[in-house]
Symmetry: C3
Subunit: 329 residues, 3 copies
């Protein structure tokens, strides 16, 4: 190659100055000179370690036996404890530091972070029990899976609910930001966007999952099934007098036990309740409550069918040069 | 920072015991004391090596020349052979071990794994030929791409079909679980969920792709185009007397040659056939067969248009404090 | 384990020959013997470094202070310069080499690559300013976020627009292929597919985002909001006399200032203009222009509601063996 390298030469300091000036000009998107900030990389590392703890032998270290499993857990737990503690600490202290920059936030949030970390680790066996029921739900509901192990190794819906149940435990302990980073990692991997605030009952099944959105204040019962593209969303966003969205109002639906929501169904509104044992058909758009034991389907829009060939204009064979469809979107 | 570290102290063994007790309490989501299990990390490594073999110079090692290419292939193939063999072996023996825990599964599945691995590697040149036609299909169909190379480097639809064609070869050789792990990796990267069981003809084009779902028993002809959000799905799921889904029944549609399916079209049902040369318009919802040469569009729902400003109530300029939209979802 | 390893043995050279013959048979999907090709791995590395430069302290190196920030920028910039230059060079020379294989493309494209790289780096402070307004837009629009920092750490819509604004700068400088690799990386991470060609005004907000498609020739004003599943797409694709798509014609919509597009809205066509201050409701399908200050909603398809239980046939309790839904999709 003839091209050689790229050199700023003496102009480098000029370029650096422009970038630094751009940092100085607007404090909103820099994190310079502050101490606390949750670390996305470390939080993802923690999530992976938690999945290794929850699904032993499936994630991370393999070849576990009854003889080595306790030592494996004994290796994992201190690492999980440390990662949890540090990220909870940064999340809690970050809010203190941001909202009250003159105080020194270290001590009270350190104490709270320790307490939260233990409470979170205490909750892991109960979360595992929930997740075992979720794995069973996928096994029972998806005709394309062979066994429970395939669910754990391959199904994105299980990954999404696994991470959300962990994140929800931290959310319920009032940890800011960190739970959302966890669920957004799962969103990135699966296309399934479940806010950590959503309260989701046992034996939950998401199939395919891409495009699913489940909002912060959604409440879901037991034995609920959700297919790809389902939105459980807000109908309107309450705003303050500066026009900014107000947080934490109940603005997403309630879905009762044994409800199934088929692909691309959209259910909106904080007062909308889908009654138990109901089925919401594919592509149904609902903004008001549905009584228990209902089957809701939509009358599909009228279809227009026309024949695309006419005897006067013979077409070149499809796939050949010159072939042109009549209609495109 | 004032916070110090996090210590379990003497309570560690208590925590470990609780986790191990949770493993003992429910065998469904642990893999402890068994020998065989496909390894997702190794399977992804294999997929990347297969893509390097199929698209030489584009993926993995660069700067290939006519002089070094044979040696490059000679380095790659043994690695691919070993990875394929081990993961096929684990997939086959895992099922044997799970279904018949008292037998020692090693020998028969090792022999079958070797046979399957050679059959798979034998199929690679034919898969490459299919994929060259798929690259051409994207090049011809997507006005936003410059040339074939951009398709290989950037288009998610090509990644999805590349992995699915490889996974389908293993699925057709009766390898369990491993093919689904392959396609779910592609699903995670692209938002395109094609089950390894789907049979897909030559010159296949998926544009944008996010949200596409193509079910296990789908059959697709040649020169078919699919846009984002298209579902080729099941209308009902056959269940056994315990209410569990029954596998492998034909429950997804058949799409004949030269069909185009525009964005968010939904076609459901194992007996639904889209006849050749047909066009299924965007957002069309079809649960019964469509004759050849059809153009199917939907009559879009009636729109309601109202003016959001009224002379009596002047609004603050949009984007300013106090500005509020009339309508939100 | 009893299985041993996998050996090609003396057949290896036969397998290698078959693969190399498959390379020789079709030049379309190999890159052998040519010099230039953009490198996806290096481009992703560059994107990460650019995000580190734009959001200091949030991405990559942490614990920045007013004392070390200039040195940090002084470390990053030469690396960014070198990565930018090499990938721009490969992108430009690749096209020269492909279109004119007999010429030696090195010198003119090296000169242009240097010029483009400086122009791109010059643009970074202005891009940062745009992105600060985008962060503000998410903060103001999403009731589930706490503060600006959470937006930067967690919101996929911000990642998508950050990468697109960087890619658009290179697109506007006539760099081929590389910008699309950048936005397809963001697409892979977020499910949001914004072509680098789209022109997008300040203070842009995408919520949830999975399934969003914004085409190459889309033009978007300021203060626009877009929710999950929105398509700004083409109504028809102009084709040449060989049936291949023609590039760069205006085929995607224009969206004016202060427009909101709710979930799954579809707007198609290069002559379609959504007038300023308009609201396009969820699931609305629009193929013609909408006047300013409009609120467009769709009359949702009629719903059919039936009760799924009848007194004659008592059902087993939901979730129990034998329980079967009446209706499935």
């Amino acid at each position: 190659m003839t091209e050689g390298g790229f050199q700023f030469g003496p102009k480098l300091s000029e370029y650096v100055d422009k970038i630094v000036a751009s940092y100085d000009a607007d404090a909103r998107i820099r994190h310079v000179g502050q101490v606390y900030l949750p670390d996305r990389v470390e939080i993802v590392r923690l999530v992976r370690k938690l999945l290794e703890l929850i699904y032993p032998g499936f994630v991370g270290r393999r070849n576990l036996t009854p003889n080595n499993v306790a030592r494996h857990v004994g290796d994992l737990l201190p690492e999980i404890g440390e990662l949890t503690y540090r990220q909870v600490l940064h999340s809690l202290c970050h809010v203190d530091e941001t909202e009250n920059p003159d105080a020194s936030p270290g001590k009270p949030c350190a104490a709270k972070a320790e307490q939260v970390s233990f409470a979170f680790i205490d909750a892991i066996p109960a979360i595992r029990e929930m997740l075992a029921a979720d794995v069973q739900a996928v096994r029972d509901g998806d005709p394309a899976v062979l066994n429970m192990d395939e669910v754990i190794l391959a199904c994105p819906g299980l990954l999404a609910i696994s991470v959300q149940r962990l994140a929800h435990a931290l959310y319920a302990l009032d940890v800011p930001i960190m739970p959302r980073i966890m669920t957004e990692w799962a969103h990135s991997k699966t296309g399934i966007d479940i806010h950590p605030g959503a309260r989701i009952g046992r034996h939950f099944f998401i199939d395919h999952g891409t495009g699913v959105v489940i909002g912060e204040t959604t409440v879901i019962g037991e034995h609920v099934k959700v297919y790809q593209g389902v939105t459980l969303g807000a109908l309107s966003i309450p705003r303050d007098d500066r026009g900014r969205a107000i947080r934490k109002t109940k603005r997403h639906p309630t879905v009762k036990d044994n409800v199934t929501l088929y692909a691309n169904a959209i259910v909106l509104g904080g007062e909308t309740v889908i009654g138990e044992n109901s089925v919401i058909g594919g592509s149904v758009f609902v903004t008001s409550s549905v009584p228990p034991n209902s089957v809701v389907t939509f009358k599909p829009p009228e279809l227009r069918l026309k024949n695309r060939t006419s005897p006067e204009s013979p077409r070149p064979p499809a796939g050949q040069p010159g072939y042109m469809p009549d209609y495109t979107i």
